[in-house]
């Protein structure tokens, strides 16, 4: 699979890549934030500040995407990345499919 980055505009492509990565990191941070909140160690003030900061980050990312017209290309790139990950995970959990992909060679051990 190939990742198509708009070749007409290098700036657009690079920005798309950066914003996409930031989005992925942001989602990871959000996931961990939820875990910390559920962990129950944070004070009320810290919970409030954390939530507000994540909301601000979300708003800022949305407006950056809209300002530079990246909404569609970021979604595309994310879909592409998700496909790659899906592919890799699928092969990891199903060694038999890996064997299929090797063109019928005998599977080596537990792959």
């Amino acid at each position: 699979m190939t990742l198509t980055i708009d070749e007409h505009s290098l700036k657009n492509g690079v920005l798309t890549l950066v914003v996409t990565l930031v989005e992925v990191i942001q989602e990871a941070l959000e996931g961990q934030a939820v875990r910390r909140l559920e962990g129950g160690e944070l004070t009320d003030e810290e919970q409030e500040r954390l939530g507000q900061a994540l909301l601000d980050l979300d708003d800022a990312l949305e407006s950056i995407k809209a300002d530079h017209g990246l909404t569609a290309s970021v979604a595309d790139l994310r879909r592409g990345l998700d496909d790659v990950v899906d592919d890799v995970v699928d092969r990891l959990v199903n060694p038999s499919r890996w064997a299929d992909a090797q063109g019928g060679e005998t599977p080596r051990g537990d792959a």
Binding site: E27, A28, G31, Q32, G39, D59, G69, V85, V89
Partner: protein
């Protein structure tokens, strides 16, 4: 699973035309990148890596790497970094300088992500957080901390929503805030809400400024066809004056504004004509400056006992 669902909700089956089972059980993993990162962080990754880089089988560089990567909660569960976590949070709690610098009797009315456009070249958008307080409108950046832009609410003469096409070609609503120093474009997560709040604030605080001026058009009744001329309208303690561009003296001078009515008509700035009745007849004005029109309305109602126009019809210009 399929059967129970289908039995429980018979309508599912009726929707199916070709008699196939209504729901097909599939095992669809569909792992996404965030899922993967999430799983890795929740479980935690421990790397123990020994590596030797050789050239021509001669070891040149040795790498001995131990790394543990996990979400902080997982770290804490395993008893790692606990002290560090506490120290970090303690440090932030003590340095409370991260808040917006507010006056003692100032309160935040609204805050939202946004930014402002710096007008001196290079013209750039500077992102931050837009705060509307009881006194000021300001754009604040938390990190690195800087007050990017601010204005006193009393100095705001006009707020207007503009639709702009961004660099990427998407339509964005901007808020144009005009003060004595000029017009600044703000971006905000919810520009309409900010505009409404600003207007409310503007009306709640009657302007005490001795006189206000704005760009106002005046219909001059020359012999034959009337002509709209652009100029500056001023409201002050000695009434309403209007001076045309390039004129030496004000062409209109009304000691008192007795009545004000809004009519629909063609003007250079929208479809609202302001009929101002003074001591020497009726003057026709038009303006985009909504705040100025409101101030004129206030002058008309306070100057006489005949309230003429409700504020709702006096939104000014093409609002």
């Amino acid at each position: 699973m399929t059967d129970t669902l289908a039995r429980a909700t018979p309508s599912l089956r009726t929707h199916d035309s070709d008699g196939a089972p209504a729901l097909q059980p599939t095992r669809d993993l569909h792992a996404t990148l965030p899922d993967l990162v999430d799983a890795l962080l929740n479980k935690g990754v421990y790397l123990d890596l020994d590596l030797i880089i050789t050239v021509a089988d001669i070891p040149l560089i040795g790498v001995n790497l131990r790394a543990a990567i996990a979400g902080m909660e997982t770290m804490l569960e395993h008893g790692m970094m606990r002290g560090w976590d506490e120290r970090t949070r303690e440090w932030v709690r003590q340095s409370l300088a991260r808040h917006v610098p507010l006056e003692p009797d100032e309160d935040v009315v609204a805050r939202m992500a946004g930014g402002h456009r710096r007008d001196e070249p290079p013209t750039t958008w500077r992102p931050g957080t837009v705060y509307l307080t009881t006194r000021r409108l300001l754009v604040w950046r938390a990190d690195p901390r800087e007050l990017l832009w601010q204005t006193d609410l009393a100095e705001v003469t006009e707020v207007e929503l503009r639709t702009e096409t961004s660099v990427g070609g998407e339509e964005r609503e901007r808020l144009a805030v005009t003060t004595g120093a000029g017009t600044t474009l703000l971006s905000a997560a919810a520009p309409e809400r900010l505009e409404t709040l600003l207007r409310e604030r503007g009306e709640a605080q009657p302007r005490t400024a001795p006189d206000r001026s704005a760009q106002v058009w005046y219909r001059e009744d020359r012999s034959g066809a009337p002509v709209w001329r652009g100029g500056t309208g001023s409201l002050g303690p000695d009434g309403l004056t209007w001076q045309g561009v390039g004129d030496a003296r004000p062409a209109v001078r009304l000691r008192e504004v007795r009545d004000l009515q809004a009519r629909t008509g063609r003007t250079p700035v929208g479809r609202q004509v302001l009929l101002v009745t003074g001591e020497r007849g009726v003057v026709r004005l038009a303006t985009r400056a909504a705040a100025w029109a409101r101030a004129l309305a206030a002058a008309a109602t306070s100057g006489t006992r005949s309230p003429s126009t409700s504020d709702t019809t006096l939104t000014g210009g093409d609002a």
